[in-house]
Structure formats: C-alpha cells, structure tokens
Symmetry: D2
C-alpha cells in the first residue's frame, strides 16, 4: 500500500464536500481531483482553497487517473452502479453513499464487480459510527444484555425534503429507513428474515402524489428469532429524533437523542430544555469524520472495511421487502424477494 492515499471524489454536492473536508484533516490523505457534472468557477475556487489540483466534469477521466487510489462516489443514486463498476475495473478502492441502487439486481452486479476486482468497497452507513449507537452495539457484543429479544429504532426527520427530492428518492424505505434497516442488522447481530410494513401519508399530500409515504412502522423478524420494530416520520417538529433500544435476556441498552447543551430552565410554566441537535449534519458530524478515517485506515492497513457491499445489499433487500409488504398487505420474507420481483 502506498504511504499516502490519493483520492478522487465524484459528486460535489453537500455530502461530497463534507467527505472532502473530513478527508483533508487526515495527514495521510491527499485529494487529487473532484468531478461534478455541474463543475463551475465556484467549485474551482472551493477546490483551490483546499489544494485540490483538478476539477473536472468528466468522472471517467477521474477514475482513469493512475495517480488515484480510491474513489468517493457522492453523485446521484442512479450513477452509483456504473461508477462502482468502472472504478472496480480500474482497480480503485471505493467509498459509496447509500443506497447503492434502487434495484437489487443492479446492486448485486456492483457488489460482484467489486469482489471480482478485489478492491475494497465501503458504504456510507454513517450511523454505525455514532457515539451512542456504537456504545449500544458494544454492550450487545459484550453480552451485557444477554440474548437479543427485541430491537427498537425510532428515526424521525425534523422536516420533509423538497418535492423534487421526494420524486427521485426511491421512497421512504429506500431513502430514509434504509439507515434503520442497516442499524437493525448492526444491533441485532442477526439477519432479517421477514418484514411487515404499515405506512401512511399523514404529513403532506405531496408524498401521496409521489406514490410515497411519510409515516411508517415496520416490524422485523430476525433469523435468531428476535423481533424488531422501526418507526419513521418525515416531520418531527421538535427536531431530529434518533433513538435505539435493544432488549434482551439480561436487560436493555437504550440510547436517546443528543442535545446542544444540558441546560434545564425551570420557571413557573414548567421545566424546559432545548430540542435535540437539529439534523443529521449536527447529530452525525463526528460519525462522518470517523467513517472516512476508518475507511482510510482499512486501506492503509489492508483491513476489512466496517460496512461493505453485502451490508448495502441486505439493507436494500429489507427496504424492498418493506415496499412489497405495503403493496401486498402482508409480511414478506427476504427469501421470497426473488420470485416476487
């Protein structure tokens, strides 16, 4: 392995820029190039400030650059699979945002291409690196709570996304709850076997117009017999609500929200504290930093990545099963997916 990892970033949207800034803090990393379909003078200025030499509209050229060791794929979801394939064929390691694709067969192809090429692929399931959820997982692994019986996840956004985003998002299960599907696997330490989903449009009719949901509860049955439940809402007016609980034979481990401060104000009206950290950029700031650090560490030390293509595939399978469950109004087994789709 080279001494300094040289990186190319594809996609200069919000998440691409966050990864760039987090990578730039690492002494053994150099960002060589960034590509974006809409690259312009502004992006060039942004890159110049950070010492990123090349700004291009041509992702293929970036992938072909022999100097580059690893590619960060931060472009729109529909581009993920072709880019993963190209990068894998070019022998580059890959960090790809979630989901890999909206279609299981395509994600499977991408994962196969990665395996064939023998490169590393890490998926952007950043929540696995959150300080609270990691601590819960540690307790599960250490056996503090015994055998897992129930996994509960609450995940609610402070505000719904814009209609333009909703249309192309792939729907609540693939776009939003997919993080929770990954978290459920991460915490339960067992694979999901069966999925039942209930959903509704209670917040904004725009979701119905886009054939989507804004409120959903999904129950999971794991292979080890444990049960799980996830609830999602596109709008919690009190802020980003991100909690998990694992209950088992020896007890429970539960993590509540992070708050901007611990101040508690007591007045004649009651006792008040500030709302949770506003949204994912605030709540998962440190987790974004850590996922890139650990990706770079995996490259430098030739170790396995913490979240790989199989993890992406499994989360997408659960999302697919959830979507089918709503349509068929019945529980759906992951083993049925092949015949149902």
């Amino acid at each position: 392995m080279v001494q300094k990892i040289k990186i190319g970033i594809i996609g200069a949207g919000r998440i691409g820029k966050i990864h760039a800034d987090n990578l730039l803090r690492l002494p053994q990393v150099e960002i060589v190039a960034i590509s974006d379909l809409f690259a312009n003078a502004e992006l060039e200025a942004w890159a110049a400030e950070r010492g990123i030499a090349t700004v291009t509209k041509d992702s293929a050229a970036l992938i072909a650059d022999p100097e580059i060791n690893a590619i960060f794929i931060c472009s729109s979801t529909d581009t993920h699979v072709p880019l993963i394939k190209q990068a894998a064929e070019a022998g580059k390691h890959i960090f790809c945002e979630k989901p890999v694709s909206m279609t299981l067969s395509q994600t499977e192809e991408a994962v196969e291409a990665v395996q064939k090429a023998g490169v590393k692929l890490q998926i952007g399931f950043n929540r696995r690196f959150d300080h609270n959820f990691k601590r819960i997982r540690e307790h599960v692994e250490q056996g503090t709570i015994g055998e897992t019986h129930i996994v509960k996840i609450t995940s609610r956004d402070p505000n719904p996304p814009h209609k333009d985003y909703i249309k192309v998002s792939g729907g609540m299960f693939m776009d939003m709850m997919i993080h929770d599907f990954d978290m459920a696997r991460f915490l339960a330490g067992s694979e999901v076997e069966e999925v039942f989903a209930q959903g509704n449009v209670l917040i904004d009719p725009v979701f119905a117009e886009c054939d989507d949901l804004d409120t959903a509860i999904v129950t999971l049955r794991f292979q080890n017999g444990a049960l799980g439940v996830i609830d999602n809402s596109r709008q919690a007016v009190y802020g980003y609500d991100q909690r998990v609980e694992v209950f088992g034979s020896k007890g429970s481990a539960a993590a509540t929200n992070d708050h901007p401060n611990t101040a508690e104000i007591s007045t004649a009206e009651g006792i008040v504290r500030d709302k949770p950290l506003h949204f994912f950029l605030e709540r998962y700031n440190a987790a974004y930093v850590e996922e890139t650090e650990l990706f770079i560490e995996a490259l430098l030390q030739d170790k396995k990545v913490k979240v790989d293509g199989y993890d992406a595939l499994q989360a997408e399978r659960i999302a697919r099963a959830a979507k089918l469950s709503v349509k068929l109004r019945r529980p759906v087994k992951l083993s049925e997916l092949h015949e149902l789709t």
Copy 2:
C-alpha cells in the same frame, strides 16, 4: 341514589382484597359481603378486621342480597359473564376485572345484559388512571401534540407467571397485552381498524408448551390513519417496564417509568440509579385507588363510568385479531373477525 353505596365483592384473591381495602377508605362506601369459593376461617378473620359482616361461598346469595347496590367481580375470568348477567338482572351496578371473557360472543352477551338492565358496568383497565398515562392523554386531548400519527407502547413484566397461570391465562394478547390495547385506544382517540402481530417464545419453553408466546410486537392501524405499535415481554430482568409515547403533527408526549427514588450514585464504575418500581402493585397502586373512587363517584352522581363494556369488547376484539394474525401470518381487520371466528 342512596347516600351510602353498599358493596358485595365476589372473589377474595389478591385483586379482590386490594379493591376491598381501597373501597374501605371511602367514607360513602360500606362493604356488606364478600364471597369466595374457598372462603375459610382466614378470610373470615380478614373480613372481621375490616367490619365486613358477611363471608360466604355463595355468590348468588350475595347478588340476591337486596341491601347491596354494587358488585365487584374479582373471581376467575370464566365466571365473569354469568356473574355479570346475574348481577345486571338483579339491578346491581358492576365493577368487573379484565378481560370480561375469552370469547367475543360471550362478552357481547354480557354487555347487552348490562345495557338492557340499565346498570353501570366499569371494567378494571386500571392503567387509564395512572398519573403518567393520564397526563399524556390530557396533552393529546388539549391538542398539544396536534393530530396523532404514531402511538408506541412498551409493556414488559419483571417475571413470567407460573405455568398453572399461563395455561388458563388466555394467552399473552388476552391476558397481558389487553391492557395495552385499551391504552392504545385511550391515547389515540381513534378505534383500531387492523392488527398485525409477530410473536415468539424466547424466554421459557413453557410458553410454547402452553401454545402461548412470551415476546410479541403488534402493529395497529387506527381508523383515523394513525399507526401504533406495542411490544410486550414476559420478563424484563430490570423490572416492570411501562412506557408510552404519542407522536403527532405538533410534537410528542412520552412517559417513562416510575422509580422508587431519584437517587443517582456516581462512582468510578459509572452512574447508577435504582430499577423502576417493581411490578403492577407498586406502579399502579394509586391507579387502583382512583379507579374505585371514580366508580363510586359515578354511582353517587349517576354519571357515566370512565371505562365501560364497550371498552372491554374493543380491547378483546383487538386481542382476538392479534391471535388470529399470528395464526394466519397476515394483518387482520377487526371487521373480519366475524367471518374468521
């Protein structure tokens, strides 16, 4: 209405005695008689200490006693329906423990008999009178949290019951989760339309032997479109776990457990506090007192009772649907129950 309510209690088990002691604190109440199939000298001594004149094995005689205005039915579930019918025919008001029966048609008959006789029937869904859950309901009613989107209930017992009890309990949904079905209706302010249940035996094989479950997650769909979820376990080693959360368009209202004290101990090992109040007698002590007070108040002031026969019927319908859902492995609508059973 008489100045002093004269009461007969049928069933001198634990719950019968609790109601007796709570009733004896009320100045406008006199307990005239108590009946129990196994009435003995010990019960006579217990009654004498409390100034209860008559102890009998004959519940029919107790019901027939013209001096008695109201009957507390605290005997085993299989006796509830015949006793309700007899008491209603005798023109007595009735307080009956939950569930009314294991069979919907029988519960319907009992409720009809009560309506026909024009007497009052209150069901022992004591948790509606719990200080925490009442406060959540108040906020829901006052509109603090807007329209209800999600109702979440966690209910876990500290220890499983004895095998003898499990056998005749009617199963987890009818015996244990029935409280949560009532709570879901109480908090949501809407009727349940559809039920999906996932369950398993993860704690003790004895539940499988009794064709029962020890761990279950049930999702609900309410008529107003809101969704609900309840999780139950027969054994939370850290104690009685009784929490609810209602999430809506303007926020959420959540109640956690009660603890025996607020002491927090910080040592080199971590920060520790005592477990929640041990079990239902400790947690719902004040709720038991209040449900009897309000029943007596309803009699004295000829008001509607807070939990009536219809509430019993609805909770039992949801329990029945949950049981069917496990069997059929699909969601079950309450409107289907008639044809399915």
Copy 3:
C-alpha cells in the same frame, strides 16, 4: 407496653390533622382525644367522623388522662416546652413538632425533663423518612461513596409564608433551614463544628420588616473535617425544590426532586416537563406517614426513636449559630454558643 397505643393530640391545625389521619390508618392505634385552644363545632364534627371521643380546649386535662399513652404536640412553638415537661412528668411518650423552642436553654430543659422521666420523645424531622433522602443515607452508611467530603443541600419553598407567620416563625434558620441542619447531620454522619451564614432579603421587603431573611447560604464544617453547604430561598417560582448531594472519596450520591409524573412533551418550542411536586404536603406525604408508623413501632417494641431530643437540640444549636454568624459577620463554632448567648 399496652397492646393498643392510645393517643392524645394537642393542636388541631393542619399538621395535627395530618398526623391524626396517618395514625388512624394504623390498626394498633386509637386516638382518644384532641385538644385545641379554638376547639369548636367544626372540630367536633371532624373528630366525630374519625371516632375521636373527646374534643377539648384543655390540654392539661388531655395530658392528665390516664388512658392516654402518648401525646402528639402540634400546637404553636411557644407551647412546646411546657407541654413536653407536663407530658413527661405525666409519664407520656411524646411526638413533638420542630423546633422544640426558640431558646436553647428551654429546649435543653425539655430534653432533660424527658430523660428524667424516661419517656420517649420523637421530633418531627419528617424529611429523614423521605424515600430519596433515606436512599442517599443508606449509600453513605453502606460506604458506597467512601468517606464524606462535601454535603450539599438545596431547599427552596414555592411561596413565602404570610407576614403573620413570618413574624412569629423564629426566622429563616429556625423555621425553615432547621430541617436542612438536621438533614446535614443525618447525611454527613458527623456533628457540625462551625457555621458561617450569608443572607439577604431579595424576594419581599416584608422579611426585612420582620428582621428576617428570605435568601441564605450557610456553610458548615463537620467534626470529621467534611464541609457542607445549604442554600435556602423562600420563593422558587417553579415549585418546591428539595435536593441533596453527598460527595466522598469513592463517589457521590445525589437526589433530585420528585415530579407528579414522568411525561415529557416535545414541541417546536422545546422539551417540557411538569414542575416538581408542589409543596411539603405533596412531597413529604409518605414521609409523614412513615414517621408516625415508626414512632408507634418504637413504642410497641420499646425501641429507640429515630429522631430524638438530642437531634432537636443540635439542629437548634446550628440554627442559633447561623443567626449569630449573620449578626457577627464571621463563622461561629457551636462550642462558642454558650458564651455568645
């Protein structure tokens, strides 16, 4: 000792009636008589409802009644010492509200009279029986937190008392903080050696008119070298604030307030919970019950009482030292009290 303790109550104000009702719950207790300077038809009705045979204005007659075993002294503070002396001479056991008197020499006389007569005297320091503070004390005794270094007590009332009360109250230290002085001794497990008090009138000028304070911070130095601090306010608009913390070589034990429920409401404005239990009647309800139960138990089983005359004396000594410290603007040792007063 007799099988049934027969009790006379002197003083039928709020606290006298609370003790009466708590005593009436105990099977081995009979209240024989109640006396009050302003006994009237209303009090007679109140007593009749409770089966208390005698209502009188004559406390001497009540004390002289040979049927009575124990006297509850709930009359105004200035009557405590003569009544304790009379009761002790008459061989009655005594429960007396705090403080015993405003003058150390008088309290000493009362305590001597009790010792000479060999009767039991329990003082109404009800907070020792509070579920939170008892739990802290247990941890201190069990050595959980090692050797005590710091004791911190916060005690703030929701509303100032009426001017008529302030005038005769004996001042903040003797009337209000005396509970905290007792709590400090209870928790520290060591005697107070030196006291320094800072006080001010920040809430209502009426306190200045009465030569009193409404806000004070008192630091304590214990014989074992530990330090303590108590802060008091006559008006915490958010309600009754009663917290303690003991810090030691192995950790800390802290108890916060009790709340009427655990409900937490999250809205766009923040996260809110209800204020603490309103005032001492709500917060210390169970503690009042327990102090009378344990007094009766001490009589029945001829055991030592949990809070005795020496405890009264010590708390009053600390209160006296605090008052002197404000006047002299310097720390005052308890050993100096004799020469200073």
Copy 4:
C-alpha cells in the same frame, strides 16, 4: 488590520500545542513562530508538520519579529507578566493563559501596560465559551430567570495533579477555583463584594505538605445582593464534574455534565450510564476552539475581546480574598485587599 493574522506562540506545552492546532484550522491565521525554553528536534518536527517556519528558544526574538501581529502566551505563570509587558510594548495583541500572575500588583502592572499600549489582551478563561454555560448566561441575560438571587458552581477534577505541579500551582484558589470565580462573575452579571472560604485536606496529605487544600467551599456576596457558592474537589473518582446553576426571581437555569454518549443500560443490578467526559480537554474541547476563533475575530474586526485583563484581575482578587479568608477565618471584602496585603 492585516488580512491574515500572523501569530507567535510562546510555550510549547500541552496548552500551547492545543491553541496552535485550533488556530491552524482558521483560514485567516498563520502561525509564524513558536518559542520554548526546551525547544528540541521533536518540537521542530511537530512545527514542520504544521508549516510553522520558526522554532526558537528566544521568546524576545519572537516578540520582536515585525511580521507577527499577535502573541499567545502559554508559558509558565511566572513568565506571564514580563512577556505581556514586552509584547504590549512591541505593539502586539496578546492571548494569555490564566492566571496572569500570583500577585495582584503584578497583574495590575500587566493590565496597565496593555492599556497604555492600546493592544488587545484576551485571557484564557475558556469555560465562558462552553456550550452549556453560554446557554445559562444567555438565559440570565434574556431575563428568563429574572433577578439573580443565587449562583451555584460545582467544579471537581477527576484526579489530583502531581506534587511538582501542586508546589508551583499557586494553590487551589488561584490555580483551580479561579475558573469558577470568573464563571461566577460571568453568570451573576454583578461584581463580587465579599468572600468566605472553608477548606480542608481530605484527599491527599501532599496538599497539606504544600500548604494547599484539596477540598473547599467558598461563599460569595455580590454587589447586587445576590449570593454565590462554589465547591471544589481535587478528586471526583467518577470524573470531571462541572455544573452550574443560577436561581432567580423568575426561576432557575442549571447545566449538568456532558457525557460521552446517551446510552443507558438496565440490568438486574440497576440502571447505569457512562461517567461524564473525562477531563478538561474532552469537556472543553469546543470551548478552546471557540475562544481562539473569537480572539482572531476580535483582531480582524477590531472588536472588544470577550474576556479581558480586568476579568483576569477580578478573578485573581477573589482568589486572593479566598486565600486570606481561610487564613483569617473570616469573610474578606475585595475592598479590604489593599490594606490586608
């Protein structure tokens, strides 16, 4: 003002390096030189990695460097005053760690030199920039809690410092509690008038050997009549304990500790959470970043600094009064300091 602030750092110990790294994140800052009496190859390597051109043992040369706009003084306390004077005379802005000196007259000289030179001086009272304490201050300023009546501060270290440090630390009040004295002024919005200190050696006799204390409680009287109390311990085995509370006519604002995560583990033994963030580097990490950012902002925009020489002076005066109070065993007014020292 120049476009890019050029900085020289004096003292390359732990705190000097922290400030360096925090400054290097700021685009408008360049660190030109760092000086240390023990500058060696290791420091040169450290500086080279960060692009700091000059490493020297000669602080005078660094101060004289015409390229440098501002000096960070992070060397030992005894060097602060001469360095401040030199830097001020050279027309450099100054950031100086606390305390400025151990002797009030010297600190006064330093502050005068700064005023005379018209340069900016910011003191390293980093806690003013802590997210929790800032929020409390905001509420005090906004009037949420009305007029301030009581300020309470708890500040306990996880471990005592090494004996070598204790000897030269200036004692508990000047070294440790000085942060709390500044915090008291920051939160109360009023100057301290009088100080009373109680202290003891309860943790380690080494403190007595060094004529120091390891446990102390200090009461404050503010000019506006409010009262304050601070407790300090050199060893809280459960970790760094940093809490404040401001109580006033309209309520209270209280901030508790920060924790590394929100995970709560419930088992048969009780409910446990992790200890607070370990020590000042973890707890005040973001506050260190913010204090340097705001210092640079004050230079760039020619604004007043947030904590100036007067703030240093006042905190040192309170520390001096506390030390005298222990010696004289009586409260000491700040106005007396002149005649007492």
